[in-house]
């Protein structure tokens, strides 16, 4: 009873709250890092160095008036942000944050497939938001978004196949354990796959330079133009939660999850005093920083260029990578 219900529920409660708090601090981090990149200070007023901004922002958003446009489809309009946020939170159930059983909610044998499946649901949120707003800009943006997400979904999923081939399992924990057995992170055997997942991940989370769906300069905010208050912030939370998801997935698949570098080399065992979750969150933090750094640096792709990149470059490379991986696997 305690093992099957109470502890998982407690874990879920901690996880959901943890993710949401992490998201607010990711927003703060993004504001700070971009500010530093642009020789500004960023938020400085609330709390020391603006740290409490992470708490004040959500409070402000909750207190804002929540407007539903008169011509909007009310049900869909309400459903859309929920559909976007919930999948982003659900996938954390299978992410192992540390080596111990304490650090993951569950280990299912199709963990990676579960992540791919659930994150795809998030697309519906965006399509519905654009459709239900009954407004032209959001509609254009949601059409872009759905096309973009679906095509990059293909590229990323194809790429993941080669990782699955290397690891021989779909379980997230199994993948990390496979890296422990192999003695090296999969980044060293699948660098191409890593780059593809990273690019595809940027596109799937609508991050710069692939942030067309919310291209504020062209489409005045994109699919969430008509949203305000908490419902707007749910999209916002979803975007950043997806960022965390992609970072976590990349860390698990390519950077050894909670493992230290070269986990079988005894010479590095002095690093073992660092707990496994510190390794995990450290790596995740690194990728979040990378995402923010990219946003501060690059201009935005145009919609057709983005589709061309997805279909003509990423997908063929992904397929080639599967073939090469399979051949190597058979030969060895």
């Amino acid at each position: 009873m305690i093992d099957t219900i109470v502890i998982p529920l407690l874990k879920i409660a901690v996880l959901v709250n943890g993710v949401l708090v992490a998201v607010t601090f990711t927003v703060l981090m993004e504001r700070k890092v971009i500010a530093w990149a642009q020789s500004r200070l960023g938020p400085m007023r609330v709390g020391p160095y603006g740290i409490l901004q992470a708490i004040v922002d959500p409070i402000k958003l909750i207190l804002k008036e929540d407007i539903t446009p008169a011509k909007a489809d009310k049900w869909m309009f309400t459903l859309a942000p929920i559909l976007s946020l919930v999948p982003a939170l659900v996938v954390f159930a299978v992410v192992p944050f540390g080596g111990d059983e304490l650090f993951y909610v569950t280990d299912i044998n199709v963990g990676l497939l579960f992540i791919i499946a659930v994150t795809s649901i998030g697309v519906y949120g965006i399509i519905l938001a654009g459709w239900a707003s009954n407004s032209k800009y959001p509609l254009l943006a949601s059409l872009r978004a759905s096309a973009q997400l679906i095509s990059y979904e293909i590229a990323v999923t194809m790429t993941l196949v080669s990782v699955i081939l290397t690891a021989g399992t779909l379980s997230m924990i199994g993948i990390v354990e496979a890296q422990q057995e192999a003695g090296f992170w999969f980044f060293f055997v699948q660098p191409v796959a890593f780059v593809l997942v990273l690019i595809g991940g940027l596109a799937e989370t609508n991050r710069a330079p692939f942030d067309m769906p919310e291209a504020e300069q062209e489409l005045t905010g994109g699919f969430h133009t008509e949203y305000s208050g908490m419902r707007f912030s749910m999209f916002f939370l979803a975007e950043y939660a997806n960022m965390l998801v992609i970072s976590a997935v990349v860390v698990v698949l390519f950077w050894g999850g909670w493992l230290r570098p070269f986990p079988n080399v005894a010479a590095l065992s002095f690093l073992d005093f660092i707990p496994s979750w510190v390794w995990f969150f450290g790596k995740m933090f690194g990728f979040l920083y990378l995402f923010i750094w990219i946003r501060a640096t690059l201009p935005r792709y145009r919609y057709d260029q983005l589709m061309r990149l997805g279909w003509k470059i990423l997908i063929p490379i992904a397929i080639g990578n599967i073939v090469v991986t399979a051949v190597v696997k058979v030969l060895l």
Partner: protein, 373 residues
């Protein structure tokens, strides 16, 4: 059997209203876009939202008061507007401007060109999604505003020139600060270039976008960087030198393909050429008064004149008619470069995608205060 289109599969143009409250139309420009999917089939450019009647207003102000109104046209290049107006009146009244005043005017105009181009670069890059360049460019623009503040006390609308010269000589040490700024700016331009010039995404977003041939550019009456981008050699500073430009050595950058990328390169090169001009002007800054011999009451004899200068956006011309009796112009007319370049927007935009529209608004560099006046 007639083949009436099924109502289910009927296709229709999507009409989108971009502006006047839109983050990327640089002010209150309104574009009515007719879209086929994301492709622009036609566009109506609607303007006039900040029309203040500056031309008509000027016909009821005396000659000195008009300088203040010219500030409000191209409000990101106020000193250039002042310069164009003052020189036109000087030409009408045949007033000799002291050499020192002409040098300082050149320095001010070139500083203003850098400031205006900074604003252009920032917003243009921002429209294409590169947000860091925006803040970098504004950081340098801030330094120029500080210099202007020290010179004339204002940061945006300077009212910095008078008919016959300048109201003030430069403050002590100001020239050294300008020199220091030139060094800073020279170091910063490569910083912008590093972020954009060879960036693959930037190249894909600007190369081949909004191509306009030299004949079309001339036919549309384009001026300034959009004209030079199409490899037409036309720069008022060289062709009909004013202020002290005939005494300085500088180059006029030309494009080759006439696309957005060429126009971008030209303006970046103009940063360097402006720095070069400012340095030469500071080196050769003559001594002497800054105000010429001007009658206490400005009352030009009857006549008309047209005088153009090269503003950051293109050829800024003033046409003034005096009836010789009043202390105000009989007719006051501005040839605003932004307005003329805006003519080019429609042919540039048609056939491109929505995402390119904002890039093209950026590349022609319009200021709506000047378009509408």
């Amino acid at each position: 059997m007639t083949t009436a289109p099924s109502p289910m599969f009927d296709t229709d143009e999507l009409v989108i209203n971009m502006g006047p409250q839109h983050p990327s139309t640089h002010g209150v420009l309104r574009l009515v876009l007719k879209l086929d999917g994301e492709k622009v089939k036609d566009v109506d450019v609607v303007m006039g939202y900040v029309h203040r009647g500056i031309e008509k207003l000027s016909e009821n102000r005396d000659w000195t008061q008009i300088i203040l109104l010219t500030d409000r046209m191209d409000y990101v290049a106020a000193a250039t507007n002042n310069l164009g107006y003052c020189e036109t009146v000087e030409k009408l009244m045949e007033i000799e401007v002291p050499r020192r005043a002409r040098y300082i005017r050149t320095i001010l105009a070139e500083l203003q060109r850098i400031a205006s181009h900074c604003l252009w670069l920032g917003t243009h890059a921002m429209d294409i999604g590169a947000m860091t360049v925006f803040l970098y460019a504004f950081r340098e623009r801030e330094l120029i505003l500080d210099l202007f503040e020290e010179y004339c006390g204002a940061r945006l609308t300077y009212n910095s020139m008078r008919v016959g010269g300048l109201p003030l000589d430069i403050p002590t040490g100001w020239d050294e600060k300008v020199r220091a700024f030139c060094d800073v700016m020279e170091a910063k331009v490569p910083e912008y270039e590093e972020l954009l010039t060879n960036n693959r995404i930037w190249l894909e977003r600007t190369r081949g976008i909004g191509v306009i041939s030299a004949e079309d550019a001339i036919g549309l009456g384009l001026c300034g960087p959009p004209l030079r981008g199409s490899a037409v050699y036309r720069d008022v500073r060289k062709d009909e030198p004013y202020a002290a430009y005939d005494e300085f050595d500088f180059e006029v950058p030309l494009g080759t393909r006439g696309d957005t990328y060429d126009r971008y390169l030209i303006r970046l090169e103009e940063f360097r050429q402006s720095i070069r001009i400012i340095r030469q002007a500071l080196d050769g800054l003559p001594e002497g008064p800054v105000m010429g011999k001007v009658p206490r009451l400005l009352k030009p004899k009857a006549g008309e004149t047209y005088h153009a200068i090269e503003s950051p956006k293109g050829e800024l011309g003033y046409f003034i008619v005096s009836d010789g009796r009043a202390t105000n112009p009989y007719r006051f007319r501005v040839r605003p470069p932004s307005f003329c370049n805006l003519q080019g927007l429609r042919p540039l935009v048609i056939g491109h995608l929505v995402a390119d529209v904002v890039a093209l608004i950026g590349t022609i560099d319009v200021v709506l205060g000047e378009v509408d006046r």
